[in-house]
């Protein structure tokens, strides 16, 4: 993208800028933010894969013996594998929400996962059949896919604005 003010002059260290040049510089950042956000395309498999992992967290407590610990350990390893695979493939690493909307959606998903884990644990303590845990696990899977997709849309919007001059 072309800029109104010269690279050579800028490299020479001249901070003198006109009002128009400052606006052009800020405008170029907004355009870059929009272009970067457009590159952040989550592949179709990402949220279902994440949903399987969170469903394992939610339902693992109902499993017998040492299986809950093993299932949760596998889930803990699987999350960084999933996010690193995504980052390497698309060249963009984002580990936290870029704004308030993303933060709210992430907290909502976290609340669903915690509530599902507690439900699963309660089913076990109440002596219910293990298959009851499939209900919070299924809800967690669905919430991860649905909220995850909304989170991505929010992330794109908020990256587009955050890359620019706005605070």
């Amino acid at each position: 993208m072309a800029n109104d003010f010269g690279e050579d002059a800028a490299d020479a260290g001249s901070p003198a800028m006109t009002q128009a040049e400052a606006r052009a510089a800020l405008g170029s950042l907004d355009a870059d933010g929009t272009a970067l956000a457009a590159r952040i395309v989550t592949p179709w498999w990402y949220h279902p894969a994440l949903g399987v992992i969170t469903a394992v967290f939610a339902g693992a407590h109902a499993l017998p013996g040492a299986w809950p610990v093993m299932a949760i350990a596998i889930g803990i390893v699987a999350i960084p594998v999933l996010t690193t695979t995504y980052s390497r493939r698309y060249g963009v690493a984002v580990s936290k929400p870029a704004g308030p909307r993303g933060r709210r959606l992430m907290l909502a998903l976290l609340a669903v996962v915690v509530a599902a884990m507690l439900s699963s644990l309660a089913f076990k303590l109440l002596g219910l059949e293990p298959w009851w845990a499939s209900i919070p696990a299924a809800i967690t899977f669905a919430a991860t896919v649905a909220l995850g997709r909304r989170y991505d849309a929010a992330l794109r919007d908020e990256i587009a604005s955050r890359s620019g001059a706005r605070p």
Binding site: A10, D11, S28, D32, Y90, V92, A93, E158, P167
Partner: protein, 106 residues
């Protein structure tokens, strides 16, 4: 509540391409070298030159990582704003906003 940064013009960030590099990095943890190059539509040499200036100033950090997706064993180069770079960028953007709004530059 976040405190607005004190406007301060950075001569390192002032160059248009360096400002745009920092702007891209502002919203993410890290970006791959190739993503920045493509987003700015510049060549490798030009981006390397500007990243070196930013790195020498302590404003960006570079990290190499092997890439199993690449059969030629090239490595990914991740670029991130440092804390000092982030502070300098916010102050520089505040100074630019002052100029754009007709206020005296800091």
């Amino acid at each position: 509540m976040t405190v607005a940064p004190e406007p301060s013009f950075s001569e390192v960030i002032h160059a248009p391409l360096r400002l745009r590099i920092c702007g891209l990095l502002r919203a993410v943890d890290e970006l791959d070298f190739a993503v920045i190059r493509d987003a700015l539509a510049i060549d490798d040499a030009k981006l390397s030159k500007h990243l070196k200036i930013l790195s020498d100033a302590g404003f960006v950090a570079l990290r190499k990582e092997s890439s199993p997706q690449r059969v030629d064993a090239r490595r990914l180069t991740w670029v991130a704003l440092t804390a000092a770079g982030s502070a300098a960028l916010e102050a520089h953007l505040a100074a630019l906003a002052d100029i754009a709004n007709g206020s005296p530059a800091s």
